[in-house]
């Protein structure tokens, strides 16, 4: 068996393992070849050793597992490869955004106070999500029965929204004015377009109807 022949068997083996995307036994690999050209077991083993060496320094490696040999992405590259499989994040609910906005504008504020203004209960999930994202934190407890936690926004919240401090949020009077909001959004979008042509694809959908239960409001 000359070198050229070995190289060809090695390339075919690599090709087959990549096309199969699953483990193949030594026998299965040998059966890719016509009887007349089928490499002996020892030759096949030798070729697999050659292939293993040839994957040195590459993105993948040859692994022997129970059902045979397979090519596998090297574990050291898992952090990058994992990004391929990140699920597209869900959008936040209207309820969450309202809660966040109230914490930003009315901090420190308790859950009960948020509920009073929103007219509906605030789910624990929303609070937990905001805490996990480190956009809000508990800054104390109000001295009333039950000692409810008071929430405030964090530095990470400001960083995320590109604010240096809360004063950079538009004043409430402007927030009440729909046209003002429209202008604001337009301005933001203009800025996005200027700085990042691709950003324009997102962010316009904010006006979607609230998906959760807060449409049936009850008076307290």
């Amino acid at each position: 068996m000359n070198d050229e022949n070995l190289r060809k068997i090695q390339a075919i083996t690599e090709a087959a393992l990549l096309a199969a995307g699953k483990p193949m036994s030594l026998e299965q690999l040998r059966e890719l070849f016509d009887e007349g050209e089928r490499p002996a077991r020892q030759v096949m083993e030798h070729v697999l050793a050659l292939l293993e060496a040839a994957c040195e320094g590459r993105g993948f490696e040859l692994k022997k597992v129970a059902s045979g040999y397979r090519l596998q992405v090297r574990e050291e590259y898992a952090p990058w490869v994992a990004r391929l499989f990140e699920e597209k994040p869900q959008r936040y609910s209207r309820a969450l955004l309202e809660t966040l906005a109230l914490i930003a504008y009315r901090q420190p504020i308790t859950r009960g106070e948020i509920e009073d203004i929103r007219g509906v209960t605030v789910s624990s999930n929303i609070i937990r999500t905001l805490l996990e994202r480190e956009w809000v934190r508990v800054v104390g407890h109000r001295d009333v029965p039950g000692r409810p936690a008071m929430y405030a926004t964090t530095r990470q919240f400001l960083d995320y929204f590109n604010l240096s401090d809360l004063d950079q949020l538009p004043p409430l009077s402007e927030v009440r004015d729909l046209e003002e909001i429209g202008r604001e959004i337009e301005k933001n979008m203009q800025a996005e377009i200027e700085f990042d042509a691709s950003a324009g694809d997102e962010g316009e959908g904010a006006g979607e109807p609230a998906s959760d239960t807060d449409s049936n409001q009850t008076l307290h």
């Binding site: 992405v73 930003a104 809360l166 997102e202």
Partner: protein, 281 residues
């Protein structure tokens, strides 16, 4: 290895088949006369008629086949001969009572019309350039042949799952990651606007205009007042922030007192002032 998976089309199969009908039993009666043999020059035996409609992709395809059999150039078709063969074909198929697609009959009519027009003496006209009655048919045949060829070219391109296989490798253990949704500031403001509009219905609530920096400072002061301990009032101020910063801290402290969130204690007149969170007591 790949070649033998590419089988010949049915039309070609028909072409290769024996030419003799091989039967003296009348196939059918056509216009009262028994049809014993299939028409001359037809290379489709009777049993192949069953796949006739599938073998050709329509009348243009059949015409091209007939033209090729005659070694004719498309630009130079002998309409009478082709029409005759075409009609024989149609007749045979109808005689076998196979359902014939309407397109074949339309083409038969078209051919008959071309043939009759070509028999008429050619009229010369001053204004109109005389158009050969075959021209439109030739144009269509040429056009169809182009795309018939393009389809064959397409079919012979290397393609996935036949000549090309995408490589993939098994995955190592991947770190689990939980992506966060993105939020635009404008979304946040719209949400707030929505809630304020609703809140307006509940007249007991008024969210008044306020310096947000004061509320932010209230939060941070509260955050430093964790636990049960008193904190020196002066430690709430950061002189490096300048006059404005000190004023904000002071307003925040007053607001906290007003909201009964902190208590302020002074042991003696002009003595040190201490504050602590009320809830912590």
């Amino acid at each position: 290895m790949t070649e033998d998976t590419v089988s010949t089309s049915q039309a070609e199969t028909a072409e290769d088949a024996p030419t003799s009908a091989g039967s003296q039993v009348p196939l059918a009666l056509v216009s009262g006369k028994p049809v014993v043999d299939l028409p001359r020059d037809l290379y489709i035996p009777p049993d192949a008629l069953a796949v006739f409609l599938e073998a050709f992709e329509g009348p243009l395809d059949l015409l091209l086949y007939l033209i090729r059999r005659q070694n004719m150039n498309i630009l130079d078709i002998d309409v009478s001969e082709i029409t005759r063969q075409y009609m024989d074909y149609i007749g045979a198929v109808e005689a076998m009572r196979f359902e014939l697609a309407a397109e074949y009959l339309v083409m038969a009519a078209t051919l008959a019309e071309i043939k009759s027009r070509m028999l008429l003496p050619r009229q010369e006209s001053e204004d109109d350039e005389e158009v050969d009655p075959r021209a439109e048919l030739i144009r269509r045949l040429q056009q169809y042949e182009r795309f018939k060829q393009a389809a064959e070219d397409l079919d012979s391109l290397p393609r996935l799952e036949r000549e090309n296989f995408v490589g993939s490798a098994a995955l190592p253990k991947l770190p689990s990651s939980q992506p966060h949704p993105d939020v635009e500031l404008s979304e946040l403001l719209l949400a707030l606007q929505g809630v304020l509009k609703r809140a307006d219905l509940f007249t007991s609530h008024h969210v008044e205009r306020e310096r947000l920096s004061t509320r932010e400072r209230m939060s941070s002061i509260l955050a430093t007042l964790q636990g049960d301990r008193f904190v020196n009032f002066e430690s709430l101020f950061t002189p490096e922030e300048g006059r404005l910063g000190v004023v904000v801290s002071f307003l925040a402290t007053l607001e906290l007192v007003k909201e009964q969130l902190i208590e302020v204690v002074q042991g003696e007149v002009l003595g040190p002032i201490h504050v602590r969170a009320r809830a912590s007591s």
